[in-house]
């Protein structure tokens, strides 16, 4: 009965002493946290801090060596398939197919998540309007500018209305204006009740999150809202907070 209460209490992700060891190396070291429904949760850390490994476990891509995780109401170890149905994912590498047209990509991912043809068609029309993409519907994705692609990839990742979407450095290499627009899309998603779990390297983006956790050497060293964190570390920006914490790292970046 452990699996159901999360929905009632509004917790979409909960991790309890989640641990991943590769041989002698502990990539993720007993992390515990909870994410509320509709929240934007920033997951920060230097390269090699264990962010990606933690995220992979929450997505059901990697089996934890210890601890427990519940995502969208399902156990990440024993109910992987149900977890996968209820989450969206967009990775730091571009996540659509360059040699497929815009609408073909949408159709493909709609099909993979088991959406009906009619529903896919409606969603496609809606998306084209919202993103102002009408003219690009038949373009190959590879011919679009990076900012366009990232916005499209995000929209496709929440096409099937998942409970939570995992974004792995979604705005890498994108110009500030497009990043701004990208975050507007994220806010729109949360307004629809989708929880956003995002990793980023841009500290200004950390300020946009409801709450932020900062990982150092596989452990969560800080977790609070940006305002509280700045107070706690006596800093004027999230960048300063991050610098103070990251300095403690003994692990080499990968």
């Amino acid at each position: 009965m452990n699996n159901i209460p999360q929905i009632k209490s509004g917790k979409v992700i909960s991790a309890e002493n989640l641990t991943k060891k590769f041989g002698n190396f502990t990539a993720v070291d007993h992390i515990s946290f909870e994410v509320e429904r509709g929240e934007i949760f920033g997951f920060l850390g230097a390269n090699g801090a264990g962010k990606t490994t933690a995220m992979r476990m929450l997505c059901g891509l990697s089996i934890p060596t210890g601890g427990k995780g519940i995502v969208a109401g399902f156990d990440i170890e024993s109910q992987t398939e149900l977890v996968k149905k209820n989450i969206g994912y967009m990775s730091q590498k571009f996540s659509l197919y360059d040699d497929l047209k815009v609408w073909e990509n949408i159709e493909l991912f709609g099909g993979i998540y088991g959406m009906k043809d009619k529903e896919i068609k409606e969603k496609t029309d809606e998306l084209m309007k919202v993103l102002n993409f009408e003219n690009e519907r038949n373009s190959l994705v590879g011919s679009l500018p990076l900012g366009f692609k990232q916005k499209l990839a995000f929209s496709v990742s929440i096409l099937h209305s998942p409970q939570v979407v995992f974004l792995d450095e979604p705005t890498g290499g994108v110009d500030p204006i497009t990043r701004r627009q990208f975050w507007e899309l994220i806010y729109e998603a949360t307004a629809k009740g989708i929880t956003v779990f995002v990793t980023t390297h841009y500290m200004d983006e950390a300020e946009y999150c409801n709450r932020v956790s900062i990982m150092v050497d596989g452990k969560i060293e800080a977790l609070d809202s940006p305002i509280n964190l700045k107070k706690q570390f006596n800093a004027t920006s999230m960048d300063e907070v991050f610098q103070q914490l990251a300095r403690k790292s003994t692990r080499k970046a990968d």
């Binding site: 398939e81 996968k84 360059d98 040699d99 991912f109 993979i112 190959l140």
Partner: protein
Amino acid sequence: MKQLLSFIRKEFYHILRDKTTMMILLLMPIIQIILFGFALSTEVKNTEVAVLAPTNDEATSRIIDKINASAYFDVVATIHNTDEIQPIFRDAKAKLVMVFEDHFAERLRKTGKAHIQLIADATDPNAATSFTFYASNIIASYLQELMGPVTNPYQIMPEVKMLYNPQMLGAFNFVPGVLGMIMLLICAMMTSIAIVREKEMGTMEILLVSPMKPIYTILSKITPYFVLSCVNFATIMLLSVYVLKVPVAGSFISLVVVSLLYIFLSLALGLLVSTMTNSQQAAMLISGMGLMLPVMLLSGMIFPVENMPIALQWLSDIVPAKWYISAVKTIMIKGLGITAVLKEVAILSLMSLVLVGVSLKKFKIRLE
């Protein structure tokens, strides 16, 4: 099911949009068949001959006529002294020089013995062996003519019959070989590259996070290449029957069954390669070096396995193409049915099962 269909459609888009690769895949069997069929022929045909006959008499001209009339030879030059022999070979004017003795017919008549020297260009030893053998035969047949009705009471006449391939056409040997190679290339190499490309592009992660079952991913990856292989199989069959005149002597159904088994095996092999590598280049290298070369060298397609050192013969036993080619030869050339190739079918099935088992297991492990 909808998942699978969406995904298969996507794979077809990938292949159809990549026009260059598709053209290569569709044209490759045609080019190979034409290359092997016409350019790289191992048959001796129209070999150029130069003749040196100091005395032009009725015996020499009869032999020269017979040589010239045979499909194996063309008399291209008549020379008049031995100094001219070297330049003939040096300038590659002829592959064979026939030197008759002085007063050839006269010696033959008086002493019952005359000499012809055959000087051959042996840079290609196999060809040289064949055409000198043909030339000797033609000379012997002249002798037979000369003797007229049999005078010797004891005669052994070997009657040689070339079974299955009476005209000794090279095509009978290489059509099965090209089949074995193309199938492996398309299925194994292209499948592995297609899967590894998803890994390289990072889209594999998206698929793994999605509720898409891994077996669906695999199935949809192999479907288009399966279709392509069938198209290629049909192309090769049509070319071989109508252009090269190599008929399917045995049961066509058996041939298709064995080929489907081999395609299945090649796809499994491609899957295995894809689980071992993370870049398209590595996949290409492994398929190219690890699969193509053994097929070319160890399958008996070009070099007879029987002449190889024992160790290589053993090695050739694990090359699937060897068994497939052997089965195709039995069915297509010898004209036998599926019952004649049960051993090959059993070995190929066993290999497929092992490959599918190992690659599915590896594919699963990688997800965790």
